[in-house]
Symmetry: C2
Amino acid sequence: MRAITETAALDAETRALERPRDHTSELRLWLRMLACTNMIETEIRRRLRERFDVTLPRFDLMAQLDKAPEGLSLGEISRRMMVSNGNVTGLVERLTEDGLVERRASDTDRRSTFVRLTPDGRAAFRQMADEHADWIGELFGDLSADDIEVLLDQLGQAKASVLSHSKKGEGAR
Amino acid sequence: MRAITETAALDAETRALERPRDHTSELRLWLRMLACTNMIETEIRRRLRERFDVTLPRFDLMAQLDKAPEGLSLGEISRRMMVSNGNVTGLVERLTEDGLVERRASDTDRRSTFVRLTPDGRAAFRQMADEHADWIGELFGDLSADDIEVLLDQLGQAKASVLSHSKKGEGAR
DNA sequence: GGAAGATATTTTAAGCTTGAAACAATTTCC
DNA sequence: GGAAATTGTTTCAAGCTTAAAATATCTTCC
């Protein structure tokens, strides 16, 4: 074991060469971002359930379909929602039971199924989407327009950094 | 049905009085924040599984215990992790099977159980935590120290706004 | 045309997560 | 002291989520 003085003398060198960099501020940023997102998500889930008896994943899936009136394939939904294929299979199954979406076979590819909102589903979604937008506006209500622009921009940079250092972004690195 | 001119004339008034405010930028902010968080979370889950064969919830629970060497009650873990009580019961059960944590009855309250890391659990966690910190540092690697400070500050404001407008923050409003 | 590879979806097993109901023990307050 | 409210935990049913394996179909390329 090294003497104390020797240890102290090596300290700077150790930090520079062997020790990983200090990531305290990045960790704090990550934890804060996560806490912020979780708080919003929890509150939105609660309101969707209380007000419309619907879950967030179902709302999200319907939101994708609302933007594509002609319908989407299961795979395309999976990509846009950034969830697994099997997940979408189950969600569509349950939404179909509720009469909110409907499936139809593709004309050109017999492997593929398209999904779209039923009229009921569309009406239900529109009502939920309106309130949802109000909720988000309310939750962020104490931020100024400038705050929002700054956050949007900074989060854009963060997103780009994460993408370029994660597996998903490997091709683009 | 109203004539076109009449509709146009009422437009400004409608926007001001009946229509909810436009929340487009808040919605964009929310979607971007969510996408950013999800990308990081997905990548961290993937690495924890590949590298240590551990799930994120188990890692998070061990992180709480690492900060409290004397152990925590199940309820306290649940509050700190912001998840339901039943969730913690199950996680602790599985971590106990793996020999990473251990339970012991409270001396003062017979309803309560404390949980703490085993020596094995602590050693395993320390190794994971070191790599985890490096990963976060890497993912945020393209951000400057200033970027991080700004984001930390802005997210702090966002968090405060969300808290004061959600059920959790009702007492503090 | 047909083999080899790619793509779209489903199935499966395991684990995570929640809200609500049920218990048990403690605390509060008459 | 004891009823009533609170607190700590577990159980339960339902739904979400994933990775991996299995199927089915399509495309590419010889």
